[in-house]
Amino acid sequence: MPVLFAHALVQQSYSTLNPASPQARLVDRLGDSMFITAAVVFGLVVLALLWAVFRRRDSDEGPAEDARREWPLRTSALVATAVTTAILFVFLILDVSVGRSITTNPGKGALQIRVTGHQWWWEVQYRDSLPKNWVTTANEIHIPVGRPVVFELKSTDVIHSFWPISLSPKKDQIPGDENSLWFQADSAGVYRGQCAEFCGHQHAKMAFLVIADPPAEFASWLARQRDTALTPTDALARRGKEVFLASPCVMCHAISGTPAGSRIGPDLTHLASRRTLAAGTLPNTRDNLIGWIVNPQVIKPGVRMPPNQFSGPDLLALVAYLETLK
């Protein structure tokens, strides 16, 4: 089966052919059924064509014999046209019903997450009736397994498109407008997502992770994220905090519990708990973090963060501080 072959070719967590939610599975099944039907129809058409090319022709028979032979041909052409039309109508109905069932509101009890697209990263916000419980993070979306999650999709600059690849079809994020999308993950795991609308220089390096946790684990993650950043205990990290607060970092980044509160760049309150840097571009390691701070323009040319000049000791202290932001 070509479909099975295609399934085997692509990487596990990075494919629409490997659905991990009821919504993605419906779309995948629709795609598979269209592919298989089209393949069968294509095979039949090729067979008919070959038969038409290679069939025997007797030239010495009269016009009456010709007419007798033409009748079944004409009938089968008519039947084929009717069947084709019927198949297309069946697909129309299937398509509309799949579209309706994945866009129907999941009702109450769904988790609301606001995802705002920026050039070139994702701001993720978990809201609450108490604003002090709001959690803002970036590029990493934790969701509970088996519970519907509604995403409110926004953008502040240009059109982006939110695409949690194996979990859901994509949806555009349009500046000045709000879109929404919902799905629920079947099983725990880390799924990759990607911006799916060309949004400028670093569109390709605008990825995110969806991390589906068991409900209890998700609740404890959310509780940890609500904490403000702790004042570091060791001297180096304390020095790093001073460096951070006196540097250009504070013009764009926020760390809750400190005077830094700008919302232009990603919130760094729990930076060290995240797996990637720069919207899925680099694994979050010490070396990558240093490289990213010193010259992000080498790693992601055009990114809004400028190259920064720190003395060696200041840089080490700064990174030591950022690593305490668990």
Binding site: G176, P248, M251, C252, I264, V303, N308, Q309
Partner: protein, 187 residues
């Protein structure tokens, strides 16, 4: 036949020329070379001269001819909250930036100095908070507000300063019949 050949030669020459026009400018993501005089301009430390229009340096700024950098400057102008005092150039808490009056000079180096070092009575010093490259971008944008940059370099679009939503996103109104005003009555 011959004239058609000549026409097509002329047409392809025009097309080739217009293709060459596509490359307008370089986008310099690395910023200014560090250690250069422009990246680390010498700025007066004190020497308080309030009110005096003292042209310190008549060199052009590095981004006066770069539309990309000016538009970055425009974004930063709002993100760094210059608009908090100067508004969209009309001024309010701080002086207006889109008119012809300059208290501390209109040259790029003057404006750089104003942003980096601050000015008496309210303008904070941003020299240690904004990297030089971005100060130069904001400088270029500030100059574009009063038309001091070339027209094809100055930003041509504002997405977030609409006096009302665009027509396509207007709320559907319920038409109401209003009373006929006095002025419209037949005398």
């Amino acid at each position: 036949m011959c004239s058609r050949f000549r026409d097509s030669v002329i047409l392809s020459a025009v097309l080739a020329l217009s293709l060459a026009a596509c490359q307008r400018e370089e986008r310099n993501f690395q910023g200014l070379p560090s250690g250069s005089a422009v990246a680390n301009p010498k700025v007066r430390e004190v020497e308080l001269v309030p009110g005096g229009n003292v042209p310190a340096d008549s060199r052009p700024g590095p981004y006066e001819e770069n539309a990309y950098a000016v538009s970055q400057g425009k974004t930063l102008y709002n993100q760094y909250n210059c608009s908090g005092c100067h508004f969209q150039g009309g001024g309010g808490i701080g002086p207006p930036l889109m008119d012809a009056d300059w208290i501390y000079g209109s040259r790029p180096a003057n404006i750089y100095e104003t942003i980096a070092e601050g000015r008496p009575n309210g303008m904070p010093s941003f020299g240690r908070k904004i990297v030089p490259d971005q100060i130069w971008q904001i400088t270029a944008y500030v100059r574009s507000m009063s038309g001091l940059l070339r027209k094809d370099v100055a930003p041509g679009r504002t997405d977030d300063m609409q006096v009302r939503p665009q027509e396509q996103s207007a709320q559907k109104a319920k038409p109401v019949q209003s009373a006929i005003p006095k002025s419209a009555e037949i005398p």
